[in-house]
Symmetry: C2
Subunit: 485 residues, 2 copies
Amino acid sequence: MGGSIDRAETAYDASTPVGRHAELLRRLDGRIDRKAMLAGDDVGDGYRGDATDERGERPLIVFRPSSATEVSAILAECNRLGQPVVVQGGRTGLAGGARPRAGEVSLSLERMTNLSAVDGDTATVVAEAGVTLQSVQEAAASRGLLFGVDIGARGTSTVGGNAATNAGGIRVLRYGMYRSQVLGLEAVLADGSILTSLKGLPKDNSGFDLNQIFVGSEGALGVVTRACLRLHPAPRSQANAFCGLPSLAAAVALLKHLRAALGPSLSAFEVIFPNVYDGVLSLTGAQPPVAASAGMYALVEMQGQDEARDQECFSEALMACYQSGIVTDVAVSGSLREYHAIWKLREAASEFIFSMDHVSGFDVSLPLSNMQAFLDSADGEIAAADPDAAIYIFGHLGDGNLHFLVRTHHHERIADIVLAVVIRSNGAISAEHGIGLDKKKWLPLCRSAAEMRAMRRLKTAFDPNNILNPGRVFDMPSPVASERA
Amino acid sequence: MGGSIDRAETAYDASTPVGRHAELLRRLDGRIDRKAMLAGDDVGDGYRGDATDERGERPLIVFRPSSATEVSAILAECNRLGQPVVVQGGRTGLAGGARPRAGEVSLSLERMTNLSAVDGDTATVVAEAGVTLQSVQEAAASRGLLFGVDIGARGTSTVGGNAATNAGGIRVLRYGMYRSQVLGLEAVLADGSILTSLKGLPKDNSGFDLNQIFVGSEGALGVVTRACLRLHPAPRSQANAFCGLPSLAAAVALLKHLRAALGPSLSAFEVIFPNVYDGVLSLTGAQPPVAASAGMYALVEMQGQDEARDQECFSEALMACYQSGIVTDVAVSGSLREYHAIWKLREAASEFIFSMDHVSGFDVSLPLSNMQAFLDSADGEIAAADPDAAIYIFGHLGDGNLHFLVRTHHHERIADIVLAVVIRSNGAISAEHGIGLDKKKWLPLCRSAAEMRAMRRLKTAFDPNNILNPGRVFDMPSPVASERA
């Protein structure tokens, strides 16, 4: 360990990227499947980016290992050579974490797609890093169980990236973040150490829970290669409703009422602001479930086990809010078709945003009690900075999480404004998307100097040569050795 | 930082414990409230131990700070002097983590008892480390909310210790471990750095989640001084039942059936083995809720939001299991009095165990599918080693967690046997009690060399001089500096 790099075995000139890559391949020769590597023109454009518009450098090599042992061999040699590595999963991130930088090789987990049989007794499944979220969901469903996380990128995003970024989505209110689904991980450290903790025990206080360190680490502390995931009983009844409300305050009141009335059966609580609802209706041509004249829209979902009674309970709770004026208009799904149609509206909110150019996206969370004040301040300051800017908002109100989008030609300035107001409002500058490359400028504004130092200590402890996703989340002082003085 | 200890300002001979303590007091003079310190004969016997029978050394000084700033000053000076510190909360631990060792000073959080007002909108409360679990529960209840963790030591154990040991208890099945309740922490590192993360946002992926590192760290990585805790809607209906069953396999089948039928409304699932049930009945003289002739006993609890229907649902689910023969006898609570009487039986199981001498306690968890085989092996091997040994079992079957107790005069030998069988069965040697001093001998048997190294890296990163709860969980090589070579 330490900041120094072992160059004893170097046959090529490892001080240049090209020489280092050649040396890396020489050292790995015979230890990993060469057919599973891509280099030069074989590296497709997909490896240059994530779900953002920006494209990074083309990695000189893409390693596509099929086992933790191969991952270990690759990382150990990269570590010895000081070779920076970008870790790639489904590349659906929105913060640039998987976007390659100059000189990096890519470690793509795409070929690690084994999924164990679901264990029905313990309600768990073990999945390799490259398994898609949707495959996990489907495996659970095939055994009468449910996986608690759902996000739009379910068909492409993968277990490794979901765990490494602590994915959120629409059912955090009920099932928690991805962290809550992780009963165990296998992760490979920069030096090639393989940490395997896949017993899947819901209670295990036998020493430090190292898994927690990798969840949400954005690949900067280790590479997740497998996960043991918690599954839940599948709901026996499910319904949703689309509501028109006078205001955000009414939506917060509705949330509070439904939480108390439905407890854990309240499984999602989303909001769509009026201009996004208008946009969705004109984009999709869908029949509006409620009139487009409200001050706020909410999508609420119930999942329960009592088929005989759940739907009635759900409707009663909504009707009580209608009678008290919290809700001014409500459409409850009466069939599976209506249920899906309502969710489709919510998913179309993202499509509507992606249909526009020059949109700066912010994924923020706020204490519910500060949310209106945040919106008022942000609105005022954005208008002052760019009178032509338009604000579009939707998101997971149940978790205090808004996707706050601004159509503007002044991205940096607007970002500085929005995130400063978030921080002043005691909010989070990234609720679920992470920091990656694109938000790291603002991280020191919302985390204390002591926290930044503690994060760097952690980085140094697990990746002393700074080879794993370097420059993501935060920069390390260079050379690394100075951090240890 | 680093392994060396700054002795520049030393006026007393800090190479002896007495000189070091005097020097420590000199340096802290005027910076912390001297009245809040205990020394010499003022240090009561309570500070010598935890809830186990063993007593440790009497600490020469007990620091009782009233703020994170005071904690910071104390730790910073202890760190400079290389003064080992035992961190004490409610001292209800069962693994010796808070039992002082020779030369240690105690840092007791007992005076940090501030509890914020409950925030009803966000359903959170902020509590200082010394607040009891019961105070948190009561604060939540006073606002129509519920705190998800409950353990027998609720009146004495405290927030700091609960967080540092990732407390478990009877409702993990429904609400998760203590970790799941922690939305934020304030923790002080060995060098005095204060990490404050108390926004209480359910979704926050803005950089590494440092809180996770301290939960379950047993005070070895930092001292928890405050926590922002998640609260849940209070259940509107609640019932429990006591069941007689033919076997453990039937109890597992009942668990599976109830999880599917009740989903998150199943809030507790406990088992009591026959000889413990007999002991409880004769200890308490209680009227047996079900005849004492079954092969296994289970206590199950439901918490729901639908007063009109929950009790019926719960009874229906149990009756289905009675009709299919999974359950052979069942008493469902029909009143609050009966509800409490049933819980009292479960709590009496601990009292029954404590009423006996020479009982070695193991707090283990196992995959449900391996549990019977574990019991069979343990039974056989214990009988072979000590024909007079008697085994008593009860615990949280819903979490795969058994309190496995052996009455024997051969503690060490039995411990080696039981924990070896646990490890062979892919179980955890400590489900909820932690490792502390008393289980550390077995930790390297259930965690890989790579995991042990990673835990030590973490310790070195956050407590390079090894002053915080040293020797708990695992030993560090001495001197610490050699770890960094």
